[in-house]
């Protein structure tokens, strides 16, 4: 039945992009291996066949040039959807991203629009080593001028992609490899959900309470939402009722939803696959602490990636990644 149609995130992203491309000629896709190959993570599959190589453009390995070009095209009336294959590669093109894409609206006093989507894969867990497994949520969210989002499931993935393409400001669309639903990568089945075939948008800056509970609030994004949900199940069997908040977007950040949840539960654990220090976990905890510390019944905790490069070897990588057991342990150790 149509309304029970389930998609992977990869297919949801591709479908959203295709629908927008049909609707609006100014939308086009650009990046490495996003053409005939359909994207290393499947998120452009089918587009090359339908729209051809002019609108689904494979690029040289020249991220600075093609992301810069996307900015120029966006300013000139196009709506590029550009892929940075792995977020780990941001270092070769960050100037085009944070100093150009993210700032030209401001520098022009709002007279230039920069309607572009920069999509990029994040996350590890499959032994791809220290230059192919990072999340870097904090790195992007820290720098002003770009919206930063990451869906945890296919429904959001589609709606947020359409929202991103229609936005006149630049959007960094992060998608987690472990949620993509690619056969050759282990995948989280919870990400493959009912996804309507018509177009719809999911607005940015609205976190979602994906599980209600009264004893502790677990906050995550992307993969860590699923870790949190699994931890909530485990806590349930301990008689603890956990609420889980899926941030969905980091910029803009829905501080109210997180605050309201913590105001209710009194306890907060932030779960993050990005590096621990100077990042997402600190921001979320501070959001509560600076607003009203009295809502906290215990010291808030974080379950995050340690401040180390990502190790290749499986036991070491597993040790470093967040997981449901660590979340449960963090709860049990809360004072």
């Amino acid at each position: 039945m149509e309304n029970e149609r389930k998609l992977t995130i990869a297919r949801a992203m591709a479908e959203a992009t295709a629908q927008e491309m049909r609707r609006d000629n100014s939308v086009f896709v650009m990046g490495e291996d996003i053409g005939q190959l359909g994207g290393v993570y499947g998120n452009t599959r089918g587009l090359w066949k339908e729209f051809g190589p002019e609108r689904v453009r494979d690029t040289p390995i020249s991220e600075t040039a093609f992301i810069g070009a996307a900015v120029g095209a966006a300013q000139d009336g196009m709506r590029p959807v550009v892929e940075l294959m792995f977020v780990d590669f941001f270092g070769v093109c960050m100037d085009a991203i944070y100093n150009l894409m993210a700032k030209n609206i401001y520098f022009s006093g709002g007279k230039f629009k920069v309607p572009m989507v920069l999509m990029t894969s994040v996350g590890g867990g499959y032994s791809d080593g220290g230059q192919h497994s990072q999340c870097l949520y904090g790195t992007f969210a820290h720098l002003p001028g770009m919206k930063v989002i990451c869906p945890s499931n296919a429904y959001d993935a589609k709606g947020m992609m359409i929202e991103a393409i229609r936005d006149d400001s630049p959007v960094v669309y992060m998608y987690h490899k472990g949620l993509q639903g690619m056969g050759w990568l282990g995948t989280e089945s919870g990400a493959t959900v009912h996804t309507p075939s018509e177009d719809y948008t999911v607005p940015f800056g609205k976190a979602k309470v994906v599980r209600e509970g009264g004893d502790v609030t677990l906050v995550g994004i992307g993969m860590s939402v699923h870790d949190s949900l699994k931890a909530a199940e485990k806590l349930e069997s301990q008689g603890v009722s956990a609420e889980v908040v899926d941030l969905r977007s980091l910029v803009p950040l829905d501080r109210d939803t997180v605050f309201n949840s913590v105001a209710k539960t009194g306890r907060l654990i932030v779960v993050d696959e990005d590096y621990k220090s100077f990042g997402l976990t600190g921001e979320i905890i501070t959001t509560i602490a600076e607003r009203d510390i009295s809502v906290l019944k215990a010291s808030p905790q974080r379950v995050a990636y340690p401040d180390i490069p990502i190790p290749f070897s499986r036991p070491m990588e597993r040790f470093a990644l967040p997981n449901p057991d660590k979340i449960v342990a963090a709860y049990n150790e809360m004072n």
Binding site: P60, G68, V71, A73, D76, G77, M78, K111
Partner: protein
Amino acid sequence: MVSRFFEEAMESIYMEGKTPVFNMAEGPIPGEMHLSNGQEPCAVGVIAHLTAGDIVTATHRPHHQAIAKGVDLDKMAAEIFGKKTGLSGGRGGHMHIFDADVNFACSGIIGQGMGPAVGAALSRKMRGEDGVAVAFLGEGAVNQGAFHESLNLASVWKLPVIFVVEDNAWGISVSKKQSTAVEHNAVRAQAYNMPGRFIADNDPIALFDVAGVAIEAARAGHGPTLIEVETYRLAGHFMGDAEDYRPEGEIDGLKAKDPILVMKKRLINDGLLTEDQHTALSDKAKARVDAAITFARESDFPAPEEALEKVFV
């Protein structure tokens, strides 16, 4: 025809060389100030071929390029003064001159404008619309990775974009010789399978001709061109630069070649301009600039809280 262009060019050249905006570093105009004195021919020789619909991406030294492109002079001056009436309400400043009406953008990061120029050219090509993009850069910027990536991309996709290197022989205190493996950056065009042209001696006429061919080729779908112009930085890198690194006598030598004076002499010698006409043009240019400065001075500063606006649209 050519003479009309000459005069248009003259007007801009003259204005730029004299623009008093360029001489203020403190007081009303704080921050870095990179003057383009001496480099005017690079801008006018190329931009004279462009319409408002064409695209220019400029550098940290953008005034001559902006004026030649027809950026609103009042608003530009006001922007440089940090006023609310400035092009972007004071958010950008001297290194961030943006004028959507004439498709002009710039940036303070070396080499950053090349990608956007390629993209704007792509945009026109995809929509089948007329339009050429010109990216200006210094000879120092040529050694930045963005140069290589952008020229390759422009060539592979055969886009209507022109790269103009203003070779003033210096990147701040580092000479071209110290920084660049080739004598002429124009030869680097070979690495991208595009024409590479060298213009000696800051000559706006020669540049005008070469740029005309390149821009016409771009409009006709024949792809990009790289143009290198030998030019002169008559001032310091930025205001306040002591320039101890310059060999003795270099500046005096260059000042004798001031393109505004050279051009004046040439036009007068060729009988295309009289002293009187020159004075009239000069006065007109000066008046225009004075008006812009007055506008800028008399404009209000933005309210401080406006800093929080226009991050997103």
